[in-house]
């Protein structure tokens, strides 16, 4: 026992093993940034109208009295197209109010996507030069925020919402907020 310090490198090594194993097992993607806006109110942003679609603004975000989603998407973003199906499902089958922010897109292309794949959005706004979504801490499309009835951001989903995410993350959180 007197020479315990000889074992210190070994002990240190095992501490490192535990440290790295944690990261491996938990499978957290360190490049995904947790939002600092959680539990803060949805920031005021100025969006433009997309054709004749209802414009997304601060008023109609708060109008529903239910938690809603704010989805940032583009026609040029491939994961957004994959996600679209599940946004449709949530909007139609689960009655989720989804607000869309069309990011750095061509209006024509955006409209074409909505005509082709359906429109899951209750209201849409466009951010052509990408300056407004900086207030949301956006760093890649798609990103989706869950907003509660009081207009507070409760959750941020980075990347596309796939079937698993919809059933195991987004819908449960929406239900949980509703029950509050």
């Amino acid at each position: 026992m007197r020479k315990i310090y000889l074992y210190l490198p070994l002990i240190f090594f095992f501490i490192l093993v535990i440290f790295f194993a944690r990261q491996l097992i938990l499978d957290e993607n360190p490049s995904k940034l947790p939002s600092v806006l959680i539990d803060k109110s949805f920031p005021p942003i100025k969006l433009n109208q997309l054709s004749s679609y209802k414009l997304f603004n601060a008023k109609n975000l708060l109008s529903s009295g239910d938690p809603s989603l704010v989805n940032i998407w583009s026609s040029w973003c491939a994961p957004c197209q994959i996600e679209h199906e599940f946004l449709m499902k949530m909007s139609l089958e689960h009655n989720v109010k989804i607000f869309g922010i069309n990011y750095k897109d061509d209006n024509k292309d955006a409209i074409e996507v909505l005509k082709l794949n359906g429109n899951p959005f209750y209201a849409i706004g466009t951010d052509e030069d990408g300056t407004q979504v900086i207030n949301l801490g956006l760093y890649g499309v798609p990103e989706t925020f869950i907003i509660d009835a009081n207009g507070n951001i409760r959750y941020k989903h980075i990347g596309p919402i796939l079937e698993y995410d919809m059933n195991n993350i987004i819908l449960p959180i929406l239900n949980k907020i509703k029950r509050e």
Binding site: L8, S31, L33, V36, G130, T131, G137
Partner: protein, 151 residues
């Protein structure tokens, strides 16, 4: 002929140098400093200055705009941290939350010194002492040696 080639080479290389300069040119020194201190969130270990990702270009534009509006560097950093979190700063702030990050290297060095000290202290320093045999031991040795030789 030689002169023509030399001229051609001369023009070729100066043009590329000018182009490179043009690319790097950031008029505003403050802006450049800020670009270097801010992380591009798309290519996450690059600074804004190094990055040409669309978001990085947008953030650079925003930084420049804010500087023109008269905001200080600290205010701009604060603005971005409020939206993106401290991760956007390439150099972490020196706060209680980050204290371990800053202090850990020094702790490890001190720990190393401590271990070295322990190790050196416990290893006996070889003193050049001369051990001599006592008379009794000499007798005993003689006996043993003689016995061996006889046998």
């Amino acid at each position: 002929m030689r002169i023509i080639i030399l001229n051609f080479l001369y023009i070729f290389f100066t043009i590329s140098l000018v182009y490179a300069q043009e690319n790097l040119k950031v008029n505003n020194i403050e802006a450049k400093e800020l670009y270097e201190e801010l992380r591009c969130l798309v290519c996450q270990n690059q600074s804004l200055l190094d990055s040409d990702a669309p978001l990085a270009l947008d953030l650079k534009k925003l930084v420049l705009y804010k500087l023109e509006q008269g905001l200080s560097k600290e205010e701009i950093k604060e603005f971005l941290v409020e939206r993106y979190g401290e991760f956007i700063l390439l150099k972490p702030t020196f706060t209680i939350k980050n204290i371990l990050l800053w202090v850990a290297p020094f702790i490890f060095v001190l720990f190393g010194f401590f271990l070295t000290f322990l190790f050196l202290r416990k290893t006996p320093v070889s003193k050049e002492e001369v051990f001599t045999l006592t008379e009794a031991e000499k007798e005993k040795l003689k006996k043993v040696l003689n016995k061996d030789i006889i046998e």
